[in-house]
């Protein structure tokens, strides 16, 4: 049984390792070693440096803690909201379901980019990078639910027609009791949704840098490091650019491997 929890322990170890690296005396994610920019691995910089000469290992570690915490929290929020809304729509009267799905569709189509621009302009220019990061993830969570909610809705409809629900309803189970029975059954649907949201949010945060939201310099952002991948000139100069994406995949695989029934 122990072996099944291995992914959890690995994730914890990863987080601990990252915290250790960040907390190490002399480690700074912001210090620019301008004589050594975009170098490969060396004793001084085990994972090389970025374009401004900042230590990549420290930056990736800090980003792992920061972006991942943000993205995980936002994904959890979004998935929870989607589960609630989707299940509500599936089990509520048809008029309500109609309305909820209509709002869902409208939500999916609207250009939310502009809302993010408005959020930025409402935020003071001096808002600290951490502050702006927290708000960004919150907004992302608030905008991410509709696609997921639709999947839950159709999954919920399927459940509603299943024999055991019929049975449960026939034997007098109502409302909240029913939902409590249904939610665990939606888990196989929710887990992949949650996992898909994590990298999506990590990258969305980075893309929002274009609007002045997201994690500002000099705080490291995982998404920002992933976006380095779309610059072929950088890829040409050092292979270490792939480091953050490799780590992200590892984390996602570990998340996926966590046993759901445990």
């Amino acid at each position: 049984m122990r072996i099944r929890l291995l992914p959890v322990w690995l994730l914890v170890a990863l987080a601990l390792g990252a915290s250790l690296i960040v907390a190490l005396p002399g480690a700074s994610y912001a210090y620019q070693d301008r004589e050594h920019t975009l170098t490969g691995a060396s004793l001084q910089h085990p994972a090389g440096t970025d374009e401004l000469g900042r230590d990549r290992l420290v930056r990736v570690s800090a980003a792992l803690l920061l972006s991942l915490a943000g993205a995980l929290a936002a994904s959890a929020l979004t998935t929870a909201a989607a589960a609630a809304i989707g299940a509500l729509a599936a089990f509520a009267p048809r008029g309500v379901a109609w309305l909820v799905m209509l709002v869902c569709d409208a939500f999916l189509a609207l250009p939310w980019l502009f809302l993010l621009m408005m959020v930025r302009s409402a935020l003071p220019l001096q808002a600290s990078p951490a502050h702006s990061a927290a708000i960004t993830f919150l907004v992302l969570a608030a905008l991410g639910w509709p696609a997921c909610a639709r999947a839950v809705y159709s999954g919920g409809l399927g459940l509603k027609r299943s024999d055991w629900i019929m049975q449960a309803r026939a034997s007098g189970l109502r409302g909240a009791q029913l939902i409590r029975q249904v939610l665990p059954n939606l888990r196989p649907l929710l887990l992949p949704q949650f996992l898909v949201c994590v990298p999506a949010f990590v990258i969305a945060e980075a893309n929002l840098g274009a609007l002045g939201l997201g994690i500002g310099e000099p705080l490291p952002s995982w998404g920002g490091m992933l976006l380095e991948l779309d610059n072929s000139a950088l890829l040409f100069r050092t292979q270490w650019v792939y480091f953050p994406v490799a780590l992200l995949i590892l984390v996602l695989l570990l998340l996926e491997a966590i046993p759901v029934e445990a």
């Binding site: 912001a30 210090y31 620019q32 301008r34 920019t37 374009e51 401004l52 000469g53 621009m117 930025r120 302009s121 220019l125 001096q126 808002a127 600290s128 990078p129 840098g209 274009a210 609007l211 002045g212 500002g216 310099e217 000099p218 779309d230 610059n231 072929s232 000139a233 950088l234 040409f236 100069r237």
Partner: protein, 544 residues
């Protein structure tokens, strides 16, 4: 069973591979003898009089025949459709003599009537023809065509460097608007597929000849592929589907230098500058103490001294930029002030200057005389990698003198709204592109009454003595007939700006271009259009 699975896996692999091959993006096919390069967006207009964006400008440059052409390499005005031209001693009358036997690309004759009509049209269009503003007082200009080959332009007042203005006025057939289909320049617009390409064909009636009498332009046409993504531009260049790339970024320059040595050229500092400035506008919603810092000359000088421009040039531009202290680039040999004595990078001096100005350190944090911590944000436009990096370097440089800087990137419209309308920003980092070497072009930036006077737009009266002096010197250079007086005035403005630092100049980015080894006749120049200013001479090896 097992065999089925293996088969399925195999099928999957083949399917993926085939998909990869099949889905290759297609570029427009190039015709024999045709040149090809990329423009970023659709030209907004094909009407040469209404051009106001760089891509329309490219089309106008390649298709429009002009009376005078400003040679981008020698930086001298040369007659083109005109055989000769002269300006009267008072500078108010310009007389052109057209070449004999000129024709448009459809074979119809080009006379002085067409030339006069084209100039008049630009003047009549007023604000929708940006060139007209260069006549200073376009309403008072009269154009005559006394005979078939003479055009006379009467100006109400003298205009500095009037010859260059005619470089931007394409001569079109009188009364027949053709949107570039009938031209008097080397090419005409043959085909335009929105958001895909613009195809230009050689004007068969083009009059100009080479020194040895051969037909110009040498290329049979130009294919302008509309490609916005620089990655894609590089790919097309490497595949031989485009012949030149202008405005290469330093990173791509280095990549091409390694992959295809011999195709890239660093032409040295451009006329453009990258600078940072503080918001000094009295109308801004900033707290009073911040306004006081930004209006304090000692504060601005200290910031300038704390910034390591060498690091910016080396780290951000990979060495392809030159540290800047003035708005005129050393590439602009005629106007650059060689005796300029700007405050150089010196962190100790910056600290001392701040102390003298009443600032003091509280731990690592700088505070002003009233105890307000010195904290501000630097705004720059999103999507510009170099500017974000510069701002991040400056962030660390300024933290060395105790200032806490927040870097904020905004998309352009949101940025412009803050700069031009609400004035709600503290400091801004942007670049200025100078198309023209003559400082008269920059009048609107230096006159304190101008809305483009960035650090404090539209001042009713100059806020400071030095701004009043800049106004005076700039007006002097705009009206004086003596080149020496103009040069002295501009030199003085450069020194004032270096002393007062309303703009803290950072670097002059170098002009980086790529030219295919198959292309002959290219003579890249620092002035725009760097690569195709001599398009008549460009041709692919082996084609004439």
């Amino acid at each position: 069973m097992r065999r089925g699975r293996v088969l399925a896996g195999f099928l999957l692999a083949i399917l993926t591979a085939m998909a990869a091959k099949y889905c290759l993006a297609q570029a427009a096919m190039r015709l024999p003898g045709e040149l090809a390069w990329n423009i970023g967006y659709d030209p907004k207009t094909f009407d040469p009089a209404k051009v106001d964006d760089i891509d329309s400008e490219t089309v106008r440059y390649l298709t429009g025949g002009v009376l005078l052409r400003f040679n981008r390499l020698t930086q001298k005005v040369e007659p083109q459709l005109a055989e000769s031209w002269n300006v009267s001693p008072d500078g108010k009358t310009i007389t052109f003599r057209l070449r004999a036997g000129l024709k448009f690309s459809d074979g119809s004759a080009l006379t002085s009537r067409d030339a006069a009509w084209s100039i008049q049209r630009v003047l009549l269009l007023g604000d929708s023809a940006p060139v007209s503003a260069e006549f200073v007082a376009p309403d008072g200009v009269h154009v005559d065509a006394p005979d078939a080959r003479t055009v006379i332009v009467h100006l109400p007042q003298r205009v500095v460097e009037i010859g260059k203005v005619f470089d931007e006025i394409a001569i079109e057939p009188a009364g027949r608007l053709s949107e570039g289909r009938v031209t008097s320049g080397p090419f005409y617009v043959a085909n335009y597929l929105r958001s895909q390409y613009v195809r230009l064909r050689r004007n068969p009636y083009y009059e100009l000849r080479d020194a040895d009498g051969s037909v110009l332009p040498r290329a049979s046409g130009v294919l302008l592929d509309i490609v916005e993504n620089p990655e894609e531009q590089i790919r097309l260049f490497l595949r031989g589907d485009s012949d030149v790339i202008d405005r290469l970024s330093p990173e791509y320059y280095e990549m091409l230098r390694q992959r295809n040595p011999g195709t890239v050229r660093d032409l040295g500092p451009s006329l453009n500058t990258e600078q940072m400035w503080f918001n000094q506008s009295p109308a801004s919603p900033l707290p009073a103490w911040e306004k006081a810092w930004f209006r304090n000359q000692a504060f601005r000088v200290a910031v300038s001294q704390a910034i390591h421009r060498d690091d910016i040039a080396r780290v951000v531009y990979l060495g392809h930029a030159t540290p800047a202290y003035s708005f005129i680039s050393p590439a602009n040999t005629a106007w650059y002030n060689r005796n300029l004595a700007p405050p150089r990078t010196d962190v100790a001096a910056a600290r001392a200057g701040l102390l003298r100005a009443g600032f003091r350190l509280q731990g690592a944090q700088l505070v002003d005389a009233d105890g307000h911590p010195v904290r501000f944000s630097i705004l720059t436009n999103a999507g510009n990698d170099e500017r974000l990096k510069m701002a991040t370097l400056i962030q660390q440089d300024l933290s060395a003198v105790g200032m806490q800087v927040n870097v904020v990137t905004l998309d352009f419209p949101a940025l412009i709204e803050r700069l031009m309308h609400t004035q709600d920003y503290e400091a801004c980092l942007l670049g200025l592109e100078n198309v023209d070497a003559d400082p008269n072009e920059m009048m609107n930036i230096w006159l304190s009454s101008s809305p483009n006077h960035q650090w404090s737009p539209s001042e009713k009266t100059p806020a400071t003595a030095w701004e009043a002096e800049i106004d005076k010197e700039m007006n002097l250079q705009a009206t004086s007939r003596s080149d020496a007086v103009r040069k002295a005035a501009v030199d003085r403005v450069q020194q004032i700006v270096a002393d007062e630092e309303p703009f803290i100049y950072l670097v002059y980015p170098n002009v980086l271009v790529a030219v295919s080894t198959r292309l002959e006749g290219a003579q890249p120049a620092v002035l725009e259009p760097e690569l195709w200013w001599n398009v008549e001479d460009l041709h692919l090896r082996g084609t004439r």
